[in-house]
């Protein structure tokens, strides 16, 4: 067998496994979300189908398959059909660059535990993930519905605004690591949790987390689908499998944003204690398990945020994005650059980041909030 053939087979196997896990995590995440939100609202959550309600989302999925596809009058058919695909495909393609574990060696073949080991992985993520906006805007536009259109418009403004913060907040990490390759970024954080980028870039981590929420249209930034205002937003006129495509894309995006945050800020597949990966299959397993734990914790944090915070008003959202988060991202970038140039130790970087967060907090709560200006 030629090396090319082995390589191709390996990639196909990895694609099947990764897509299977990412798509399979959607019903699991939906169930966890419904359970957790239920508990936070002192309800039990779904508990009728299967033991402890475990089969609820699977049954829901089966139900959706048999539902009628309602297509309203006056929709722009080609665009209307294309929009759900434009949302789900970028979400899935992003999973190609995420390193789920360290490179392992089986029978003398080096296998990196990601579908592709792209040198521009992070840039690829930003480039592809922002394509989701097209799907949402086109869905809103082609639905021939004012509320859908409003949702699409809001999403375009919101996602474009937060895209900038999202990209700027990781530049500090790029300065520290000196690479766009996600596997290398993860490997540079080996040796215990104090080597993770979150300890060097607390501000960047915080900004990325918030901007990631906004990018995924998750509460408290879910204005594109604000149920109480827009009856569902851009996907109001979608039913059956088309609607589920949007729904799945949202959860795939949560999983993959969590995966990117994990890789960039939380040490990726590295355990939080010093550990040297030797490249055996057991090491691969350890890496994947730690990666999964971190991604799961972030996804639960996202659900927790959803259960706690109310939706922002639209002008507040834009003000937060442009007047607070974007300047903070720039400050973070400059201070990181200066500290790297001065070759200061990592804890100084951490302290400065936390100090800026604290100052922002005081500034927002004592100056702007008290004056009741629409800045925060």
């Amino acid at each position: 067998m030629s090396a090319f053939l082995i390589y191709t087979i390996l990639i196909v196997i990895k694609i099947v496994i990764v897509f299977g896990i990412v798509l399979g995590s959607v019903p699991a995440l939906v169930l966890v979300e419904r359970k957790l939100l239920g508990w936070m609202q002192i309800r039990p959550g779904p508990n009728r189908v299967g033991p402890w309600g475990l089969l609820q989302t699977i049954v829901d999925g089966a139900k959706v398959f048999f539902k009628e596809t309602v297509i309203p009058d006056g929709v722009d058919r080609p665009v209307y059909d294309l929009a759900p695909l434009l949302v789900i495909v970028p979400a899935l393609v992003v999973s190609c660059v995420v390193p789920f574990g360290p490179a392992i060696e089986i029978a003398g073949i080096q296998i990196p535990l990601s579908i592709t080991d792209l040198d521009l992985g992070l840039v690829f993520y930003f480039a592809v993930a922002s394509l989701t906006i097209y799907g949402i805007v086109l869905a809103g536009w082609s639905s021939n519905n004012k509320w859908s259109l409003l949702g699409g418009l809001r999403s375009s403004a919101q996602m474009v605004s937060y895209e900038i913060t999202l990209a700027l907040s990781v530049v500090g990490v790029l300065l520290l690591c000196g690479t766009f390759n996600l596997r290398e970024i993860a490997e540079k954080q080996a040796g215990g949790f104090w080597y993770w980028n979150v300890c060097r870039q607390p501000l960047g981590f915080f900004l990325f987390l918030l901007a990631g929420l906004a990018e995924n249209n998750r509460l408290p930034f879910d204005l594109p689908e604000a149920e109480s205002e827009l009856t569902g937003g851009y996907h109001t006129e979608y039913s059956s499998m088309r609607f589920v495509t949007f729904y799945m894309a949202e959860y795939v995006n949560i999983v993959l944003t969590s995966a990117i945050i994990t890789t960039v800020f939380l040490g990726g597949f590295n355990p939080p204690y010093p550990y040297e990966f030797q490249g055996t299959w057991l090491d691969g397993l350890i890496g994947v398990v730690w990666f999964g734990i971190k991604v799961g914790a972030l996804a639960i944090l996202y659900i927790w945020i959803r259960g706690t915070l109310p939706r922002l008003r639209y002008d507040h959202l834009m003000a937060l994005g442009w007047k607070v988060m974007l300047p903070l991202a720039f400050i973070n970038l400059f201070i990181t650059a200066i500290l790297i140039a001065l070759e200061r130790p990592w804890w100084e970087m951490c302290a400065v980041g936390l100090a800026i967060l604290l100052m922002t907090d005081i500034f927002l709560s004592h100056i702007l909030w008290r004056r009741r200006r629409a800045v925060y």
Binding site: W39, M40, I42, R43, L309, D361
Partner: protein
Amino acid sequence: MLSIDLLRGFAVTLKHVFRRRVTVQYPEQRRVDAPVFRGRHRLQRYADGLERCVGCALCAAVCPSEAIYIEAAENDPNHPISPGERYARLYQIHLLRCIFCGFCAEACPEDAIVMGPNYELSDDSRAKFVIEKEQLLTPPSEGFGEYESFLLPKIG
């Protein structure tokens, strides 16, 4: 401070995760109804089994949604159905029209019609919501005569 306020909010939701759930798992668990609960109507009987309703149709007259239909008939003196001169030969309530205001029970001079405890009123055809006297009468298994009117001052 903003962050403290936010963290306090997160603490609230986290605390609620471990609180006892307030949901009543309905078909298995049931709430205890208030004694004045206004569920589906019931027609009461005396202890000897005679119907209290004398077919005066005051309930039908007072009903704001005209959900009650009554046809009265003379009692056979040898086999009386009610203690009065007349009885309700036909007593129908259209539950889809009824608004459960309880005016019928209030208007009834004989305390014959009362609001019962039954609230499980779903069915699969409209025709089944017109309920007849046989469905309204208290079944013998639940005992004749003794009942508590919702008008009796029990609460407040």
